[in-house]
Symmetry: C2
Subunit: 355 residues, 2 copies
């Protein structure tokens, strides 16, 4: 039996789902692969609860329960040591399931010293290209859950590249929220009504502009492009927002109150798409020549036109998949499937550390 | 740099494509992962060309060129040592890209002694369940290319299971040949004409009954089921053949001459499907309760109904992907993509041996 020490940074929705999956499924993984994950630390932005020989199950579940009701891991005012200064007892895995910026350098230092990193956090991979390079050097970081949650997107792309295939084009719909809105628009709903309902149901971020700006899709597109070896900086992928610049600076309340301003232009675009027998989709297209992220009218027989609701779809056209693409499709968001993507990465990484 | 010794059993179409990909892409893999694959042996059914310190590129390319024009690796009558009796100089990988039966025990012995196995050959995984268990113990064997060629099918299923998800149902179309025939039938062609053309173009096996029996699909279904932990023996999956038993025993010439006997029943089934607004597909369905492999009339909005031509499609419904399945689709046959599936498995395995 090989014990792999892990430190989990982030104990929000995805983090709690991951911990629960690991506790529930740990024995099965031990039986199958001879691997046991040992939590030596749980961290959030306030501090770290750590034990070099491993946190007990009750320490872990207590921390989760406290976080679930909004308490920080470190009480206010404590000068707790953070994860950046914790020394792992042996080669282990740092798991970042936050949405925080600024972790990339500390994580890259862990990779450089032989540790591994698993990310659901997109930010460390979508900062400077040099940070991406440092993090992913020698395959030291896995990040399946950053794009498409638990869908096999990064691993599929990596396998294609590892076998010497070359990218022609990726076409993808990778925002469940924007996909949901497209389906509502096609069903005849006004954009204002669709956004308000999605907001009420919690399908959008607290400020829906965080979805409607397309910035999250652009970050995912950047991660896909960099995985293909394209040395792009963030400014090289610009997303088309769903709202005019003037609505970007107003308060959330004012934005929600002025949503009706978007109804007429969107109704016109949907009508145009339907008149042409096609579909309106928010699409990212990536090739060596560049990327585009925006609303597109697609012909009715395009694979992306068949998408309904919040499903994601990724279409890979390569030198070997030239005439007909390799396509991956399914739900691309949610705590449980995102945590599952992280856990599958953890298992793959642990199998490498086991030898 | 870590050198990984490999022995490749099988130097047919897939084997030659694999060798070419490895020679062309080896430097890139060395740069990316610090891994170098070293051919210590090339084997076919006649014998083994081996060198414990590694075959030279010219020895490898000579062997490939000779095999390509039909020469055996060992001249007739030679008492060459086979791969079964070759001792690897260190922990390495046995690659089986043959279609031969009877390899399972020798390969399982290699796994038991710490070596790894990568398979494009379905036979070792579709013999007795005990042989499957021995081969896959502790993750010692990878076999992505046995189902869907280079498509991410086994790895996707394995990641779902590794993260503690549980299978509800797999639905799959996984014969490019039978998918091609379904599309031709829907276009109004008679089955006899479609089979003769597919045979002439090399889309079928030399004896088309090897495709039309469904036996190859049943073998793939068995591999998927066993990957999910279902301890099934081969008799537990029966495929529905496209021809009556009486045509199973006649000569190939007689079978081809009597193909017209199948035209009327197939035309009737296609007409029935189209009258219902659906599609006729050759589908494997796998769940814990059992498997079925046969022709099905699917509703028009079923994901498998949208398939055209030789593409494969795999739909995974699980505890976490309950309402909407995870779907993988694309070309599931061909030397280059099958070899790419093997090579991706080799890289994943080598990353584990590197540590």
């Amino acid at each position: 039996m090989k014990t792999i020490p892990i430190i989990q940074i982030g104990v929000g929705g995805v983090g709690r789902a991951l911990t629960q999956q690991l506790l529930a499924h740990g024995d099965a993984l031990a039986a199958r692969y001879g691997i046991r994950f040992e939590y030596v630390g749980l961290a959030d932005s306030t501090g770290l609860r750590a034990r070099r020989l491993g946190l007990s199950v009750s320490e872990i579940t207590t921390a989760l329960a406290e976080k679930a009701v909004g308490q920080p891991l470190s009480p206010a005012g404590a000068f707790g040591m953070g994860w950046r200064s914790f020394i792992l007892p042996q080669r282990g895995i740092f798991i970042d399931v936050t949405a925080a910026g600024g972790h990339e350098q500390a994580l890259a230092e862990r990779v450089a010293t032989g540790h591994r990193v698993v990310l659901a956090n997109k930010k460390p991979l979508s900062a400077d290209f040099s940070a991406f390079q440092a993090l992913t050097k020698g395959g030291g970081t896995r990040y399946e859950a950053t794009v498409g949650a638990g869908l096999p997107v990064i691993s599929t792309l990596q396998s294609l590249l590892d076998s010497g295939d070359t990218l022609t084009r990726i076409e993808a719909a990778m925002s469940g929220t924007l996909g949901y809105l497209c389906t509502e628009l096609e069903a005849g709903k006004l954009l204002s009504a669709a956004v308000r309902e999605a907001h009420r149901l919690g399908y959008t971020e607290p400020d829906p502009r965080d979805d409607l700006s397309g910035a999250d899709v652009a970050r995912k597109a950047l991660i896909l492009a960099r995985t293909c070896g394209l040395p792009w900086e963030p400014v090289q992928i610009q997303a088309e927002p769903w709202f005019p610049a003037a609505l970007g600076d107003v308060s959330l309340d004012e934005f929600m109150a002025r949503l009706e301003e978007l109804d007429a232009p969107f109704a016109a675009r949907v009508a145009e798409a339907q008149a042409a027998g096609g579909a309106l989709r928010y699409v990212a297209t990536i090739s060596a020549e560049g990327a585009s992220v925006g609303l597109r009218v697609l012909p009715g027989d395009h694979p992306l036109a068949s998408l309904r609701g919040p499903d994601n779809l990724f279409s890979f056209t390569t030198a070997r998949y030239a005439e007909r693409p390799l396509v991956v499709r399914g739900p691309g968001a949610g705590y449980a499937v995102t945590a599952a993507g992280v856990l599958a990465d953890l298992v793959a990484t642990a199998r490498e550390l086991r030898a």
